[in-house]
């Protein structure tokens, strides 16, 4: 952060110019949008169907702890396909992509930092390495 701040303070002019370019770009970008071909849509649909089958099938195979990793991995991949193609993020501005990513970033903060508490509740004694 500080690094960025520092650079910014040093070169007000450059960044101002940069923002001006961004302004310009937003005017040109994405007027009537990208028309995705039927083939892509059908292909994505079939992939999603296939992955649904895989996720059900895998549930019947005992992979131990890996089961939930695989299930969530497939779900995440499916969701990404929907976001990327059906929701046209592929053809959207970087800002939209940033918005999508930040949603999951903040969700990760919520889940991750809460689990910091629950994950260490049973550390009755500090792990040997800390003692």
């Amino acid at each position: 952060m500080l690094h960025i701040l520092g650079r910014r303070a040093l070169s007000v002019g450059r960044l101002t110019a940069l923002s001006a370019t961004m302004q310009l770009r937003h005017g040109l970008l994405a007027m009537s949008g990208h028309v995705t071909s039927l083939k892509v849509y059908i292909g994505i649909f079939l992939t999603l169907m296939f992955l649904t089958g895989v996720t059900v099938a895998v549930a019947y195979v005992n992979l131990g702890q890996l089961n939930k990793v695989v299930a969530l991995g497939i779900a995440t991949f499916k969701a990404s396909l929907v976001v990327w193609y059906f929701m046209h993020v592929k053809y959207q501005s970087r800002l939209t992509k940033l918005v999508v990513v930040s949603g999951f970033f903040f969700l990760a903060i919520l889940l991750g930092l809460t689990m910091v508490d629950y994950g260490s509740r049973e550390w009755v004694n500090p792990p040997a390495s800390l003692q």
Partner: protein, 240 residues
């Protein structure tokens, strides 16, 4: 107004150009979906915690749910995502009738999904799998009313009926809250689409202006994504 911008009837007064208007709508919709991610995120947090705490109960409760209905609904919902995407595409390329048709197809599939949900809920009501005073997952001393998974017997033996009744209730509380809110989103989506379909029928959209179709599409796909996660999390815990 800027002189060079062709004054499209759908251009609102606060905007200078159609592209500015559309970009605003897209960003606004995505910001809204961001909100939705965090909204369901709270439920996923609770789910994650209790699944770790009450693993046995979650496995048993998950096995008691019929995969068939969940799978059917997944297919239906992904199908509806396809038809929705095609509706947007038709609007983009000025095919009014196709737009209306695909929108109707989407609504039909959405309704099928809700119908299946009704069947599933009714089943749970009948078997007292709805949390509350009537709740009973397993009658002490009785065989469970659902088919046990491969480890089911073992899980059943190492937990008492009382403790399972207590902790599976958390699973079903989350099940009903998650699927209930998801279904509510679908109902709102279908309502939204009724309006959009009517607008499409009236010829309000064109390759110049189809933002409302696209926005409802984004919403609908998001609802689909939520289900893509709910399906494995609720239906598919450890069937091996």
């Amino acid at each position: 107004m800027h002189a060079h911008a062709a004054h499209h009837p759908a251009l609102q007064h606060q905007f200078q150009t159609m592209s500015q208007q559309k970009e605003s709508a897209v960003l606004g919709m995505w910001a809204f979906l961001l909100t939705e991610v965090l909204f369901f995120g709270g439920l996923f947090m609770a789910y994650m915690l209790y699944r770790t705490w009450y693993h046995d109960a979650f496995v048993l409760a998950s096995t008691s749910i019929t995969i068939f209905w969940g799978l059917l609904n997944t297919v239906v919902l992904i199908g509806s995502s396809l038809t929705m995407a095609l509706a947007v595409r038709s609007a983009q390329i000025n095919q009014r009738k196709a737009t209306v048709m695909w929108l109707i197809a989407t609504m039909v599939l959405g309704t099928v999904f809700l119908g299946v949900k009704v069947i599933e809920y009714a089943d749970k009501f009948e078997h007292h799998h709805v949390p509350g005073p009537e709740y009973a997952f397993i009658e002490p001393g009785h065989e469970p009313i659902f088919e046990l998974g491969p480890h089911g017997r073992e899980l059943l033996e190492r937990n008492s009926a009382e403790s399972l009744n207590r902790t599976t209730q958390i699973f079903f509380s989350l099940y009903f809250t998650m699927t209930g809110l998801h279904a509510l989103h679908m109902i709102i989506g279908i309502g939204l689409m009724c309006v959009i379909t009517w607008m499409a029928w009236k010829g309000r959209f064109s390759s110049e202006y189809y933002t409302p179709v696209e926005m409802s599409g984004l919403y609908w796909h998001f609802v689909d994504i939520v289900w893509i996660f709910l399906f494995p999390l609720l239906y598919l815990i450890d069937r091996s």
